[in-house]
Amino acid sequence: MENFLLLTHPATGGLATLAALWVFVDTLNANEASEARIKKASLICAGLIWLTYFLGGYLYVMDYAADKEIIKAGPWAFGHNYFMEVKEHVFLMLLLLATYLPIAAFDGIASNKTARKIVLWVSGLIVPTSLSMEGSGAIISLAVKIGLLFKMKGG
């Protein structure tokens, strides 16, 4: 179960990033033909971020304690002390951004220039924030691996 969650939560996060990028690019030239598509993409983005929150959150709350001990005892203790601490708290802002995205996207963006501007800002913030979550996750999983190797060598 833990391994399944380890694989699925960055996958849903990655797909959410693509959905946000889709919203951003489509909104640059939004018109009546693309409005429905942008609305759907914004809902997909929000849904995937919420799914990532539940999958990653379950893993973090129920299973992460053992990994945390391994990381903190190893040479890459910053994997937890910095990257996980920042990741778990910045993610909460990402959740707010993704929840807000459909609210702005449903504000008649085909005929409302100002709503398009807000959608561009929000989707534009989601993409780099999500990517930084993916990068932090990679560092944390590598910190566990290095911690285990360190432990096996009697460190």
Binding site: V61, N81, H89, V90, L96, T114, A115, L125
Partner: protein, 104 residues
């Protein structure tokens, strides 16, 4: 004809997002610097302090979003798109810097 005014929920929840984001970053600093009181309470309130933190954020975001949609005879808080964009982007960036700087 091109519209130039944002809907009331775009304005109210956008402003709520900005405020909640900064409050969330300040809550990180508050709980991490008060482990015996704030963090201890957040740990016992739910399964985990992070779950409590997430719930506080969501409640503040939703309540503030609806509260800010009520002023001006139900027309919502008045804010221009430029100011709202600056508020959202600025608060998210400042919050991320506060969190990243705190754990450095």
């Amino acid at each position: 004809m091109e519209q130039t005014e944002l809907g009331k929920y775009t304005r109210s929840f956008g402003l709520s997002l900005g405020i909640t984001s900064v409050l969330s970053a300040l809550l990180v600093i508050l709980k991490e610097t008060n482990e015996a009181t704030v963090l201890a309470w957040m740990k016992t309130a739910t399964l985990h302090h992070w779950v409590t933190h997430g719930l506080i954020n969501l409640v503040v975001f939703v309540v503030l979003g609806f509260v800010l949609s009520k002023p001006n005879n139900g027309d919502g808080v008045k804010i221009s798109a430029n100011t709202l964009s600056i508020c959202i982007a600025g608060s998210v960036i400042i919050s991320a810097i506060l969190i990243a700087g705190f754990f450095r």
